[in-house]
Amino acid sequence: MAIDSGATAWILASTALVMIMTPGVGFFYGGLVRRKNFISMITLSFVAFALVSIQWVLFGYSLAFGSDVGGFIGNLQYLGLNNVGMDPGLYSTAIPGLLYMVFQLVFATVTMAIVTSGFAERIKFSAYLVFALVWTTIVYDPLAHWVWGGGWAAQFGALDFAGGTVVHISSGFAALALALVIGKRIGFGTYAMEPHNIPLTILGAALLWFGWFGFNAGSALGANGLAAQAFVTTNTAAAAGAMAWLLISWLHGKPSSLGFVSGAVAGLVAITPGAGYVTPMAALVIGAIGGAVCYGMLLFRIRKGLDESLDAWAIHGIGGLWGAMATGIFAVAAVNGASGILEGNVQQFIANATGAFAALIYAFVVTYVIAVIIDKTIGLRVSEEEEYVGLDISQHGERC
């Protein structure tokens, strides 16, 4: 098929939009930690971007999108971007093959950035580099293959429009596994550890919301009605999630700006898998429930004394899980041909739940194992002194 220049224009723009999400995650997280770890946090995100960018063009893309090997992983046909060119490819009928590749690249990078929540303020930078390379290769790449690269989940019929399972469930549960392996920050629960720069967190949230339009509406892979549909559902769910969290948290205290932006992200996560399958009114419901559920999970996490304090698990993990199931409930054929429970198709729900839980378990278990191995060999965590002076100085020799 020939290139559609309009589709190409939109996916080029979308790729740029998704790219800005990675620094967005960095600012979001960076504002939430203590001042002494701000530079560390944003550097983890930014390095995720660079490292995964290189891994992806070298072999990551091939592992995810190469011809299927046993339903589990792609082969090496696209090694070094071999055979990925300026013409449309297998996955991209209307846009250049290279563009599809780089659009997928920015998804892989932002996923890695989200994961950094799990070891915030205590990770050794050198261990992080190793971890990131291994994680993106043996957790992210297979998952992307399962769902989008022709692997078993795709064959099985699980719907994931823009990556609720691949991006959010995987990163959220990976963060959980990491937090368990690396342990709590010194003083967690007894020291005050307040967000040091809320304005920068809000900036991060603004960049995330902005970039998410590329993430979801770009996943239509065309500049068409479906892209518009996904754009609208995305914005609606974000707004609903934000207001839901704001209002519910008001019952327990003040309506905080952090509650608002957390809810927005929860809504965005929740709509991601269904953005191109549900109606805007369903998005309103999905987003609002997403905000409420993730807020509840955050409270639960705090009650359990779990130090996964940037809440990738509560927001991305649980929000992604809810989104996968919501897609199986609310999908309507009129939007994109797929029906969920509301149209009587329980099968879709089962497929989606199966895909989501399989990804959840895979991501959690494999991440746990990787983390333990790295911890036993080179050590995941900085020394107590380094943690005390902060990672900015101890890992990067900088101060902000």
Binding site: K36, A192, S383, E385, G397
Partner: protein, 109 residues
């Protein structure tokens, strides 16, 4: 009157404040400072070499109290701020000659 000037770890600040409140010491002025103790900071392993990190962030409390309260205050702060690790901080006692409340103009000596 005396000014009790305590330089403590930021992480312990909330405890110290709470402890003071509980004992009825309400008035205080705090500021963010950086400091280094006699150990010349903390030495980090650093690619074979060593690196000394000094001037770490601290919270400084200044509390002006009657002479008779000073010892009490020292005990409260010391207990609430102590972690037993390096960097726990210092308390200095300085003489104050007068104190004036601006709102009312009333003066204490």
């Amino acid at each position: 009157m005396k000014m009790v000037k305590a330089i403590i770890k930021p992480e312990r600040f909330e405890f110290v404040k709470k402890a003071l409140e509980d004992k009825g010491f309400i008035g205080m002025t705090i500021s963010e400072v950086k400091g280094r103790g006699e150990q010349k900071g903390i030495t980090l392993q650093y690619r074979g070499g060593l690196m000394t990190v000094d001037l770490l962030p601290k919270i400084q409390l200044e509390i002006v109290v009657r002479d008779s309260d000073v010892d009490n205050l020292i005990v409260i702060i010391t207990e609430a701020a102590r972690t037993g690790k390096i960097g726990d901080g210092k308390i200095f006692i300085l003489p104050v000659e007068k104190s004036i409340r601006i709102r009312t103009g009333e003066m204490e000596i």
